[in-house]
């Protein structure tokens, strides 16, 4: 019976049925065939699967990301980071990576990060002599930091799927996020240095650092307010997400004056659509997850793993191989919502800390966002940079290798993920 459910999902996904519908339809057909639960339960799930206060953080983080995208936060951040590395040949690569990391601490979505940063940085870096393929690859990879460095929409979804604390997940993402940023920065600088990219650069001056800092200051205040509120216990993650929207609106409308009331309906509509596309899939995934548990699929996986005598590290390595392979064809949220519920019981059975597993999973989702042929960040950057998907994919390849190395490091050393807990 379990085979029928998995086969149906894969078949429907393969023929191009939207992911949310594929999950719901497979679940419905499975209920009709197996009688695993009642039809009333299906209707109940359609409504109640999204009945969660934690999930409210998702639309707010998406909304905050869109406000920052339209308000030009990335422009001021990049100018500030550039001023810090002034006079260093290839320094803009480091500046761009730093801006990506800071933007990651402001938004919870890798697509919003890639779009905001790419629009600003690709033309600027091109003017400084960086080839477009390289810059596009760097921006696609830098954008992925948006979902590992807290806040993170992916972690909110994982928290809902696994009933873990959002705060703990956010804390756990800090060190791995910084390691990923350093890895991307080192690779970017090495490539620039080796090929002599970005030799034209403004000399370092404290005056420029101060001027750009004053401009970027309001944007830099965002991570402090949002993350500080959560970690100091003043706000729940959902309230912190709402606060990030309030702060983003204030800075965009009153400080930078780059958005006005007329822009708000468009920003809200884009955010509503972003929310709908993610949470509609999540609702289907929660329903299928419930069915899978009813017919014992996760338990069968646990038994299979127990029979194969896999160690926790062996399991995580196997999961990495599977997730990287699937990530080439599935987008990150499908990967997260479909695969995570199946693996979580095995994670518990093997004694792996679920927070550590979450970090490994999110890194895999990061990699999925930049691996062809289906990589959301690749699509976003291709659209923004006016280059081909192939060029972006070539540009991003060294950064994918760097992220895989970080993935292995974090897989083998759980301490790095659990350091701040």
């Amino acid at each position: 019976m379990a085979f029928v459910l998995v086969f149906l999902i894969l078949l429907l996904l393969a023929i191009g049925v939207p992911v949310g519908f594929a999950l719901w339809l497979s679940g419905l057909v499975f209920v009709l065939v197996s009688g695993a639960t009642s039809l009333t339960q299906v209707a109940q799930s359609v409504y109640s699967s999204l009945d969660s206060f934690v999930l409210l953080a998702v639309p707010f983080f998406i909304l905050a990301g869109n406000i920052m995208l339209r308000s030009g936060f990335a422009t001021y951040l990049f100018a500030f980071m550039q001023s810090l590395v002034g006079g260093i040949s290839g320094g803009a690569s480091i500046g761009a990576t730093g801006a990506s990391a800071i933007f990651g601490a402001m938004t919870g979505s890798s697509v919003a990060s890639a779009a905001a940063l790419g629009r600003t940085m690709i033309p600027t870096m091109e003017a400084l002599g960086y080839p477009r393929s390289y810059t596009a690859g760097l921006m696609a990879a830098g954008g992925t930091l948006g979902i590992l460095i807290p806040p993170s929409v992916a972690m909110v979804i994982f928290a809902e799927l696994s009933q873990q604390s959002v705060k703990s997940l956010f804390l756990a993402g800090v060190v791995p996020g910084l390691i990923s940023a350093v890895a991307i920065g080192v690779v970017a600088f090495s490539i620039s240095f080796r090929h002599g990219y970005g030799k034209r650069t403004e000399p370092f001056s404290l005056g420029a650092v101060w001027r750009t800092f004053v401009k970027a200051g309001p944007a830099l205040g965002m991570p402090a307010i949002v993350l500080g509120g959560i970690y100091l216990g003043y706000t729940t993650p959902t309230e912190a997400a709402a606060l990030s929207v309030v702060y983003g609106l204030f800075v965009g409308m009153c400080v930078y004056r780059t958005i006005g009331f007329r822009d708000l309906p468009g920003i809200f509509l884009d955010s509503a659509r972003g929310t709908g596309s993610i949470l509609f899939i999540l609702s289907g995934a929660l329903f299928v997850g419930m069915l899978a548990t009813l017919v014992g699929i996760p338990q069968s996986i646990v038994e299979l793993i127990a029979a194969s005598d896999l160690s926790p590290i062996g399991f995580l390595l196997l999961a990495n191989v599977m997730l990287i392979a699937l990530g080439c064809f599935l987008d990150g949220f499908t990967l997260l919502t479909v695969v995570a519920p199946l693996l979580l019981p095995s994670v518990a059975a093997l004694g792996i800390n679920p927070i550590h597993f979450a970090i490994v999973l999110v890194l895999n989702i990061e990699i999925a966002a930049v691996t062809p042929p289906i990589g959301l960040n690749l699509f976003v950057i291709t659209g923004i940079s006016g280059t081909t998907m192939k060029e972006v994919a070539i540009g991003v390849a060294p950064f994918v290798l760097a992220l895989v190395c970080v993935l292995l490091l974090l897989t083998f050393i759980p301490y790095l993920s659990l350091l701040l807990l």
Binding site: P18, L28, V42, V46, L243
Partner: protein, 166 residues
């Protein structure tokens, strides 16, 4: 012509309601947070109503996504086939989505009827309306998704007919 006008009015209503739900939930959570922080008072119904608005937001957005054909899907495998096969896959995918949306509409009606029959109310708050009012989003949402899918299928058929005639 008439169908196009109705479709356009409906589209504006769907998008408008999605925006209103998002704005509403944002204002409610922000107001509650501010009120609790500064005055130590919290609205007893804000959390439950926020969750209701979130569910409505997702379904109104899902209707818009269906209209614009923007739901996330796996396109890689279908992309390996030729143009004509891709069109057939798209048609099949739309028909399967329609089958589910119609089933969910029917299940939603049954679900709401049950709620009315048992006179269910919200468990944790004193929201001034019964649960079935919020649950109506399931049949209404999926009925509108079905309508969007039917319109797309009809549009595809018309385009096919025009091509074969011209």
């Amino acid at each position: 012509m008439m169908l196009n006008r109705i479709s356009s009015v409906l589209a504006k209503a769907e998008d408008g309601l999605a925006v209103l739900c998002l704005a509403g939930v944002f204002l409610l959570v922000t107001y509650d947070m501010t009120s609790r922080t500064f005055w130590g008072v919290s609205l007893p119904w804000s959390e439950e109503f926020s969750r209701v608005l979130l569910i409505m937001l997702v379904y109104f957005s899902a209707i818009g996504l269906t209209r614009r054909n923007e739901h996330i899907r796996v396109e890689f495998i279908v992309g390996l086939f030729g143009q004509s096969a891709q069109k057939r896959f798209a048609l099949l995918a739309d028909l399967l989505c329609l089958a589910f949306a119609l089933s969910a509409t029917w299940l939603g009606v049954v679900f709401v009827k049950e709620s009315i029959r048992f006179n269910l109310s919200f468990a944790h708050s004193n929201l001034p309306f019964p649960v079935w009012v919020a649950q109506l989003i399931v049949p209404v949402g999926f009925a509108l998704i079905s309508l969007r899918l039917v319109l797309r299928l009809l549009g595809a058929r018309q385009a096919e007919q025009l091509r074969s005639e011209g």
